[in-house]
Symmetry: C2
Subunit: 366 residues, 2 copies
């Protein structure tokens, strides 16, 4: 790995580790950070693994004022003997698509992956082993140029941080209630919805709070034009099993192309299921939930992998606030959802047959 | 001012000042920063003026990853004898509207204004005096909570930084070329377009670069739904003089409600002009530019105040790349634009009659 040209400075003060049954999501960080700088003259340079530390940022840096920041999320798994990454190439491919839309520089995807493996191997003692846990990896690229002019960054920072995590949703596979959001909008076609950029998440917070007011865990976003077609569930993609076939919203430009979404589509096709990437009318989904034709519904994402949806809630009259609820599969986790979740988690852990070459070995486990 | 309860720690190392004819936009910062912290338990606390310094941020803070950041821009003017702010209440009113949309805490607007005045008076020697220059003030509020969970900030930083600035557009009142952007979208109704939030600016960079490819200084954004109705010009609001009457896009939720836009509407009404806040079809504007009915066009914003538009450019055939250009007022700055610019700049400097009470005195000039 020395030809990677990554400087490694190990911490002199390793942190105490949080017990694995006390891990939440993204609150505990490992002993190190990966950092690399970019400027227009030098390109990417000074790749380094350093002790975890605060960033020293001038108050004018573009990331804080103008949101020129993109990120990724992926996980390293410890299956007892080896540490694996799951489809990390997909994350770097998407990071570069986000970079293009947000006018940030491209990363060398092969270098980024090798650097990530080096970083994970340095902190391999932090990859937890309890089922359901993993080491969450967060690549982040942001405008670190000093100055208030609005223009693409001339100075950029790329970092990767790592956080040992438990289950994202503490309720586990317990079905969620989703609130159909028909006023606030997450993204429009022509905007930045397909990019994993900071501002998309800030824009979604209000919808999340509103969902909670209606007793829901997440919201279900609709399209910006007609407020009628399903886009995403909270910060996750969404799947429906209708009359024995599977449906997920097509990637129109306003939806995040999830890596877990892609893996799920492949798993379903591997099983010989009929799968449709389509435009899905929320009114039709409510109707089919009532008749039972909508048999199961679940969300997919890196953090939670698969989360069943048991109930959809929407406001049917905005003046009176009258709402409507429909249960899916009687509000319980469906058999297909459970089985898909288990198959995917086993694959991620290296316990299933890796028929698509999705696993990337990092190093021996500690 | 002592009852403001703002701690003031003056710098021991004042910086050398850049000559006023060398000032750009947002590249030189004064000797101090205003800082204040918020958390759910204590509310806003520890208001302080401190020496300008780097921020020490954990790499996981929410502003960097999820763009939960809002800002304002306003100017302090030195008219020779006094330092004035121009309509600062409007900025704090808007900051609170942005805070509501982005799920950030509300500021006490009166306190924020008094604190701003104190901050400006500490750095009053930095308010430049050359015509066209001013001290640009940048209030910024952002999620400074440590952790990767996506939720509204439980810890927030508010700061104000100050930058002596020259003219925003170095070309001065030279008319701009605007590129009509009909693919990328800035904001949709139901989104965050009306809020001054970081992500809106990141999302706009690609459009700006495309405008430059077409030899234009800025782009003209259209609505997200039909890509047909005018929204904003680059990061500015836009006005049209058509058959002797004035038009600007109505505030539909996707447009930033500019303070300069509001001042311009008032100035026009004070002059007895007919003013319409309306839905403006870009096809109609091209047609009226050709007949000469579209007599003048200009943009308004805090940074540039008023900027004339001399040419509109658009792609008429996306397959062939064929484009169309129309000149407005022969590509020259119109008389009305020039006169409105001068009246507004004089008002900001305290040289005109302050008939609406727009000026807020800060202190004697140095």
């Amino acid at each position: 790995m020395t030809n990677l040209n990554v400087r490694v400075e190990l911490t002199q003060n390793p942190k105490a580790k949080t017990p694995e049954d006390k891990l939440g999501f993204g609150t505990v960080f490992t002993d190190h950070l990966f950092l690399m700088d970019w400027d227009a003259e030098q390109g990417w340079h000074d790749a380094r693994v350093v002790p975890y530390q605060n960033l020293q940022l001038d108050p004018s840096v573009g990331a804080l004022h103008y949101g020129q920041a993109i990120f990724e999320g992926l996980k390293a798994y410890n299956n007892g003997g080896k540490v694996y990454l799951f489809r990390p190439e997909k994350n770097f491919e998407r990071l570069n698509k986000s970079a293009d839309r947000l006018s940030l520089p491209q990363l060398d995807e092969k270098f980024a992956l090798e650097a990530l493996k080096l970083f994970v191997s340095v902190d391999r003692s932090w990859v937890p082993t309890t089922p359901g846990t993993s080491l969450y990896l967060r690549p982040l690229m942001f405008n670190s140029e000093v100055g208030l002019g609005v223009h693409p960054a001339k100075k950029v920072t790329y970092l990767v941080m790592a956080s040992p995590v438990g289950a994202y949703f503490t309720a586990g596979l317990k079905p969620m209630r989703l609130f159909v959001e028909d006023e606030y909008v997450r993204a429009a076609v022509g905007g930045v919805g397909f990019a994993k950029t900071a501002g998309n998440y800030a824009a979604s917070l209000k919808g999340q709070l509103k969902a909670e007011e209606f007793g829901c865990q997440q919201c279900l976003w609709l399209d910006a034009k007609e407020h009628r077609y399903v886009e995403e569930g909270g910060a996750m993609n969404v799947f429906f099993k209708i009359n024995g076939e599977y449906y997920t919203p097509a990637l129109t430009g306003s939806i995040l192309p999830g890596v877990t979404r892609d893996s799920m589509l492949q798993l379903l096709r591997d099983r010989g299921e009929k799968v449709h990437e389509a435009r899905l009318d929320v009114n039709d989904l409510f109707a089919k939930a009532k008749t039972g034709e909508l048999e199961e519904m679940f969300c997919t994402g890196t953090a939670a992998v698969v989360t069943p949806v048991g109930t959809l809630v929407r406001v049917v009259n905005h003046e009176t606030g009258e709402k409507e609820e429909v249960a899916i599969n009687g509000g319980e986790t469906g058999e297909a959802t459970k089985s898909l979740y288990e198959e995917l988690v086993n694959l991620q852990l290296g316990l299933g047959e890796d028929r698509h070459g999705w696993l990337v070995e990092v190093c021996d486990a500690e």
